[in-house]
């Protein structure tokens, strides 16, 4: 995913970063969770804060703050034959506003985007609707963009939710 940037002599171009965010959401919508996990850097994290304007993922309550290992556990569980909360399976759809590129720092190897989104997770006859902002902190690993941190802030993060089993 470094085509345009490489052509211009930069490590990565803004349109590459935007394309990455769209492609990431599409993998989730297509239930390709294993491929999605491959987008994370080795020490990458996926974070859903539980407080507004939250500063710290571990000293303040988060709904979710997990490393690749725990995300792998989640995915393996989703595929498990004795995972009864996935009988029937859940599906999801992401509708993204065009990602805004917030930072492009080649020296620090840090590329950040901000993306308002609508998200629907459905299972059987039920459909849950979520809205918020996704922040991607990306980095290049061997010339390929990877997720250092995906942070998902829900607009109604203080409301009670039922099961959220997939990934926003």
């Amino acid at each position: 995913m470094t085509g345009a940037g490489s052509a211009a002599g930069n490590p990565v171009a803004a349109e590459d970063i935007v394309a990455f965010v769209y492609a990431e959401a599409r993998l989730l919508d297509e239930c390709r969770y294993e491929d999605w996990l491959d987008l994370f850097a080795e020490d990458g994290r996926y974070w859903i804060p539980a407080e507004w304007d939250q500063a710290d993922p571990v000293m303040q309550p988060s709904l979710l703050y997990e490393d690749r290992f725990m995300l792998d556990v989640r995915i393996r569980r989703l595929r498990g034959v004795r995972t009864y909360s996935q009988k029937p399976n859940s599906r999801c759809v992401h509708v993204l506003q065009q990602p805004s590129v917030e930072a492009m720092d080649d020296a620090a190897n840090s590329y950040r985007t901000w993306t308002p989104f609508h998200y629907v997770e459905t299972r059987g006859d039920e459909r849950d609707y979520f809205n918020g902002w996704a922040r991607h902190d990306l980095m290049l690993v061997d010339g390929t963009l990877k997720i250092r941190l995906k942070r998902v802030d829900l607009v109604n993060l203080d409301a009670p939710f039922g099961n959220i089993q997939l990934f926003m």
Binding site: P61, L63, R74, R77, P160, G162, Q165
Partner: protein, 461 residues
């Protein structure tokens, strides 16, 4: 055919008939009238958790909550004490505090007509007061201020409320079960807990009692959580890593064997309280937090510190609707909203004077196990919702609670039993019947022929 107006209202015999020694009728989980009566009787006759005093440390601080469907306002007054009032303006009924918590300053001012109340609930002022001169204002109850809740108790900063006057006092109701709260507080080197962080809020489309029963159900983890904890352990083994992963440390004990749970024991107390994990528990083998032991020894001496930290109780149910985990410093409130709807709020405490890492572990536990994003929570909620719909089936109308039942079992005693016993569930239903019927008026049943006819056993749906 027209449905009977009422089967259970003012009909204590019909309510009693819902609970047998080894089984309970499905109506306790699915019947709307039973739910209404729980709000009116059970949640008014028992001491119900309302909040923690550390949420309102300064004068003017307040928190709001609902008990038995009734809005309450808990505030810290200028005298430094906690007061509990109904959250309803004495004038027209406006809910006077609109937020879950905050600071009211010197007074609560009703946003509708500006009636003002001191932070103990007493009336401070009424705009255009002369309009009430000569109208007998002073004789009206509203002239005194917000309606107070008389029966409340702040025990080691835990605020419990009993809306009705009858029934046991606080000490008699809880008895020795308070030892779990004591232990959680004593785990602070300063003997003080600070409620910190937003609660994780999780909506359940099931009856609240299923959640309470699940707290001492030790025969489900190895089955229901095979998909979460079981998968986590399996994937961890595949990595070949031999360090400790903080989340695995919390999840792996959920895969413990039946033998482990049988041996760790359940202690039941009178009035529906009880706990799992008497001699051992899933919280027994956590990593040491650097610096904590030294602080505990400084505060309590080695022997006492060892005794405090050696108490590793698993889940303590305070009847009717909270669960406390002393060793992990969490409190879950199972808030009933309807017969088939329950809001679970999971709160976290910081141990005053203890290292930050302990609070970090409390937060990790809460999001890993109690969040709507928790894989363990997903397993449990799926079961509750399947029960809520499964109970509509014909054939069996009763739900079984007879594991390790003993003939002529004497409830309302303190005893330690096999950890896979369902005795704590039976204990809860014994208390449930008592506090449901305590203030029911059987004489009123005479006014209600449908209720009288249903007295012998529940009417089939």
């Amino acid at each position: 055919m027209q449905a009977p107006y009422s089967r259970y209202r003012n009909n204590p015999d019909a309510v009693r008939a819902l609970v047998r020694p080894r089984e309970v009728h499905r109506d306790v989980y699915i019947d709307d009238e039973v739910f209404e009566l729980e709000m009116e009787h059970l949640f008014a006759n028992t001491w119900v958790y309302a909040g923690h005093a550390s949420q309102a440390p300064e004068p003017g601080d307040f928190i709001t909550c609902e008990i038995g469907g009734k809005p309450l306002l808990i505030s810290r007054h200028t005298d430094g004490e906690i007061y509990v009032n109904y959250n309803r303006c004495a004038h027209k009924g406006t809910r006077i505090a609109g937020e879950a918590s905050g600071n009211a300053g010197k007074m609560f001012r009703c946003p509708y007509h500006g009636w003002a109340f001191r932070t103990d609930g007493s009336l401070l002022s009424v705009p255009l007061r002369k309009g009430y001169d000569g109208t007998g204002f002073e004789d009206m109850p509203m002239g005194r201020g917000l309606a107070p809740v008389k029966n409340f108790r702040v025990y080691r900063d835990f605020i419990f409320v009993k809306l009705n006057d009858g029934g046991p006092d606080f000490e008699e109701f809880f008895g020795d079960s308070l030892s779990t709260i004591d232990n959680m507080v004593d785990r602070s080197p300063e003997g003080r807990l600070i409620l910190e962080g937003a609660p994780l809020r999780y909506m359940h489309r099931c009856n609240w009692k299923m959640l309470v029963e699940n707290q001492t159900d030790t025969c489900h983890p190895m089955v229901a959580h095979e998909s979460s904890a079981g998968t986590a352990v399996k994937v961890w083994k595949e990595t070949g890593r031999n360090d400790r992963h903080p989340a695995i440390e919390l999840l792996a004990p959920f895969t413990s064997t039946y033998k482990f749970y049988e041996e760790f024991g359940i202690r039941v107390w009178p009035n529906g309280h009880g706990h799992t994990g008497v001699t051992n528990s899933i919280h027994a083998d956590y990593s040491e937090i650097p610096g904590y032991w030294e602080k505990m020894v400084d505060a309590y001496g080695e022997a006492r510190a060892k005794a405090i930290l050696g108490e590793i109780r698993h889940n303590t149910v305070y009847f009717p609707n909270i669960m406390v985990k002393g060793p992990i410093q969490t409190l879950r409130v199972f808030q009933p909203l309807a017969a088939d709807k329950t809001l679970v709020e999971s709160w976290t405490f910081r141990l005053a004077g203890a290292p930050d890492q302990l609070f970090a572990r409390t937060l990790l536990y809460n999001r890993t196990i109690n969040a709507p994003t928790s894989i363990v929570g997903h397993d449990d909620l799926e079961m509750y919702e399947r029960i809520q719909t499964g109970l509509r089936a014909s054939g069996h109308e009763w739900v079984n609670v007879q594991r390790l039942y003993e003939e002529d079992e004497e409830l309302d005693t303190t005893v330690v039993v096999n950890g896979t016993s369902e005795r704590q569930m039976r204990n809860q239903f014994n208390a449930w019947v008592r506090y449901m019927t305590q203030d029911m008026d059987p004489a009123a049943a005479a006014m209600n022929p449908a209720a009288a006819a249903g007295a012998e056993r529940p009417v089939a749906r």
